[in-house]
Symmetry: C2
Subunit: 196 residues, 2 copies
Amino acid sequence: MATRRRLLDATRDLLARDGPFDLKLVDITREINASPATFYQYFTDIDDALLCLADDVEESSGALLPLLKDPWRSEDDFSKARVFVDAYMQYWDVNGPVLRVRNLKAEEGESACRVKRSESQFPLLEALAAMVDDSIKAGRIPSDANSIARGAAMLAMLERLTAYRDGLASRGTGAEALANTLTRILFQTISGLTGE
Amino acid sequence: MATRRRLLDATRDLLARDGPFDLKLVDITREINASPATFYQYFTDIDDALLCLADDVEESSGALLPLLKDPWRSEDDFSKARVFVDAYMQYWDVNGPVLRVRNLKAEEGESACRVKRSESQFPLLEALAAMVDDSIKAGRIPSDANSIARGAAMLAMLERLTAYRDGLASRGTGAEALANTLTRILFQTISGLTGE
DNA sequence: TGTACATCAGTGAACGCGCGTTCACTGATGTAC
DNA sequence: TGTACATCAGTGAACGCGCGTTCACTGATGTAC
């Protein structure tokens, strides 16, 4: 039903506007001029609706994966890294509010959120790790490096920096400088090349 | 009063045990066998108490700063980077729950939390940036690098990876391997040395 | 085509619980003389 | 030292609001014959 979609959209909007603490079932239905009872026709719970939103987001994270298909083997591939960084930041710009609650609930132990988070991150992590392995094989990264840990560290960096962005912008480090710096670190850490 | 301290401790404990969503004023006072009215003698609000907890944490973050006093100039300084990484992870282990709410509220726009977060991060960020500048001067990092952005990226990586740790541990990447990988990336990004 | 019935999306209004907040209070400790 | 009063930390009990949840319902759309 279209009503289900409208409920999900309203949930997402309110989450973005007021944050996870002020997200109330009653407000969601009020937002689309429906009865609170309507909510229960489609979801058991607010958390249930949040999980559905997380599913939507998961699909859109799939769009990032193709950008990591080819390993970075020469300095010319720097631009590929940059494309990935831009796409990743845009992905967080769009889906940040939903991703943040998902992660938050996952950290608190809600197992359904843990699962979704893993499903979402795992493909990217694997792809980055595979690229690191490629660089190890080529001798650009020492053979005792841990490719999974490297990939995870880079995802963590990208993910968290979206939160710092505003603070940095007000101190004179703009979005372009930030993206460029992130790309250099990412490129160097994954490919073992210098990025110059 | 000792009661104030007990209230703060109870707040911290409940935050760690049940997470920020289930943190209720009534539960806090119940935890120390006090009346809900007692809470209002010391704090105006739950958020007020959270800010006080954040102050406690801020002090303990000062302990990290001395570890970044000397720039890393040779491969021998790798061990200093490792000490910092270990200290940083321990800092998050101990204060994670409080730091997470603080950051969460800051992202939602609560200005007092924004301020606290900045105050807490700024000294570390400055210290890392100064080290990067030192490396630039020595020619180990290209002169067009943005030292603030580099520092911020490294803090973001360290901060966020504490959340991934459990997931990585269950996939065979232990704490030691993780700390080692983080140290390498940090050392290379800040000092421009290889870390080998 | 018309009639009688079934299905189904969505509702209005009510309920009760739990929480934040208040206020007049109590009993203990401190202070003046 | 004793008495009368003041200060102060902490309380018990009550209040009311807002939220989640339920249930019998309505009105529209679909279906059988």
